[in-house]
């Protein structure tokens, strides 16, 4: 047998590679990070994705437009409603259908409720990642109230499928307005409690300030959008830049921070929760009368061409790119998912920090894995 040469390297050059995931509580799903370590410091991170790749883009090519909506629920399942809306808006734009105001307003309220519950879940998990288990209970307790509102109106709790091309599946429940108003009243009191529990905590500050800095230039180059991008000062709120649904008739601030570290990303999301509540309050008493859906042809065929629609999900910019050849199935559908671009920045911002900081940085990116794998 041939004898193998044993290579020895000095200690300081030795690299230790560990697998974080695919089953790891802080990766929030089936994500594997191949982390090269030098001592406790992270040298580089290679994300390995695709464990739950389900070929949604391929499946879309063999189904009709109303069916696609149900697949988009399964991408970013925490902001399912906004994904649905993106496809619906794109189809409506292609067919040049005027959507009544009632639908627009209801869609906007639902989107903002979705954003609220998404940020609540993120806050709950982020607190837990950093060792504060109480956050998890607080966050999920309040999120449950929004899910109950969804259940009453849409039938589903998380995967709502409430949109359809031309409007909504059914009208809102008679209790909807009252329950939403009750919730906002309740949550305005509760949100300062979140601050007391985590935002002002010294240990939390130590673990998040100055950790995982992302500059504005890098955020733009990596295509990092959503609260993560805005925490670095990248003005990327699609609701402001290309208003859709009823966002052009409400007053709200685009939350921008300049620090770009984990703490800024945290504060950006907390601030967004306040803004979401403002938007809902402006609309909830002014839902116009009218139909909840426009009558559509039984078979929806898009005219030949290419259509692109951007929306702002809870995690960033979702783009739906449809190429139609005039049939009832699309020729090609591409989903530009926010998490996909946000993940690509992880190696860049987490290198050089300790492995415990990687958990904080990963948590602050708020990754949803099925949205990356699609």
């Amino acid at each position: 047998m041939e004898e193998k040469e044993i290579i020895t390297t000095p200690d300081e050059e030795q690299e230790y590679v560990i697998n974080m995931g695919p089953q790891h509580p802080s990766t929030h799903g089936v994500l594997r990070l191949l982390v090269s370590l030098k001592g406790e410091k992270v040298k580089s991170i290679q994300p390995h994705v695709g464990y739950i790749h389900s070929g949604i883009e391929k499946m879309c090519e063999s189904i009709t437009y109303p069916q696609i909506i149900h697949l988009t629920d399964r991408m970013d399942y925490i902001s399912a409603h906004i994904n649905n809306e993106a496809v619906c808006l794109n189809v409506e734009k292609a067919l040049e259908i005027d959507i009544p105001d009632r639908i627009k307003v209801i869609r906007t309220i639902m989107s903002e409720l979705t954003r609220l519950q998404s940020h609540q879940l993120w806050w709950a998990c982020f607190g837990m990642d950093l060792g504060g288990l109480t956050c998890f209970f607080y966050g999920l307790r309040d999120r449950e109230k929004i899910l109950d509102i969804f259940e009453e109106t849409c039938g589903g709790r998380m995967i709502v499928s409430y949109n359809c091309p031309g409007g909504l599946m059914y009208d809102i429940h008679p209790n909807f307005q009252k329950r939403v108003k009750d919730f906002i009243k309740y949550f305005r009191k509760i949100l300062p409690e979140y601050d007391q529990l985590l935002t002002g905590n010294v240990i939390f500050h130590e673990r998040s300030r100055g950790i995982g800095k992302l500059t504005k230039e890098d955020a733009i180059s990596f295509g990092v959008t959503g609260p993560t991008g805005r925490a670095s000062g990248f003005s990327c709120d699609v609701r402001k830049h290309e208003p859709y649904s009823a966002y052009d008739r409400v007053q709200f601030k685009e939350i921008l921070h300049t620090e770009g570290d984990t703490f800024a990303r945290y504060i950006a999301r907390i601030d967004e929760m306040w803004e979401s509540m403002n938007i809902i309050e402006q609309l909830i008493d002014n839902i116009p009368e009218g139909p909840f859906a426009v009558k559509m042809k039984p078979v929806i065929k898009l005219p030949e061409g290419e259509y692109y629609q951007r929306v702002e999900t809870a995690r960033g910019e979702l783009g739906v790119y449809i190429i139609s050849d005039g049939n009832k199935n699309p020729y090609r559908v591409k989903f530009r998912s926010p998490n996909f671009s946000n993940l690509s920045v992880l190696n860049h911002i987490a290198s050089g920090f300790k492995i415990a900081d990687l958990v904080a940085i990963g948590g602050s990116l708020d990754l949803i894995i099925p949205d990356i794998d699609r």
Partner: protein, 151 residues
């Protein structure tokens, strides 16, 4: 700059461009040999400054394979859609833009994984979702015996 001015400006950057005013965005079709040069100019020229590549999609056009780049300038807020095609289905190869826009790194790996388009000078061209035993699922001639995907 509005769509027409932008079209005129891009026309002055390179020859052989096919510029179409699309329904939504300005669409520019560029031959593969000119792609990298034009992309770099669009990123760096003072008047253009397309610094945000917000979507990169691979498309199988039947006879050709192509890549579509959606570019936006965060300074001027204008958008252009770059398109390029290659007719070589056996060994399709295009220039990588991963050193111009860092987000292209992952997006090009995805296109390579699902459509089999190779990107020249890509820093780390490996498959992203699937392993090497798979074909290229987003190609129109892909046959899936197990799941019987049909149209």
């Amino acid at each position: 700059m509005d769509k027409i001015q932008l079209g005129e400006f891009i026309k002055s950057l390179a020859s052989d461009l096919e510029i179409k005013e699309g329904k939504q965005y300005l669409e520019v079709t560029v031959p593969p040999s000119m792609l990298y040069q034009l992309a770099r100019q669009l990123r760096e020229k003072e008047e253009a400054q397309f610094d945000f590549l917000f979507c990169l999609s691979g498309v199988d056009y039947g006879s050709d394979l192509g890549v579509v780049y959606h570019l936006r300038s965060t300074i001027y807020d204008h958008v252009v859609v770059l398109k390029t095609r290659t007719s070589d289905r056996e060994h399709p190869q295009l220039d990588s833009v991963a050193d111009i826009w860092l987000t292209a790194n992952f997006h090009e790996r995805e296109v390579f994984d699902l459509l089999g388009i190779k990107f020249k000078n890509h820093p780390d061209l490996r498959r992203l979702f699937l392993d090497n035993s798979w074909g290229f699922p987003l190609r129109k001639d892909y046959v899936d015996d197990i799941n019987i995907v049909y149209k």
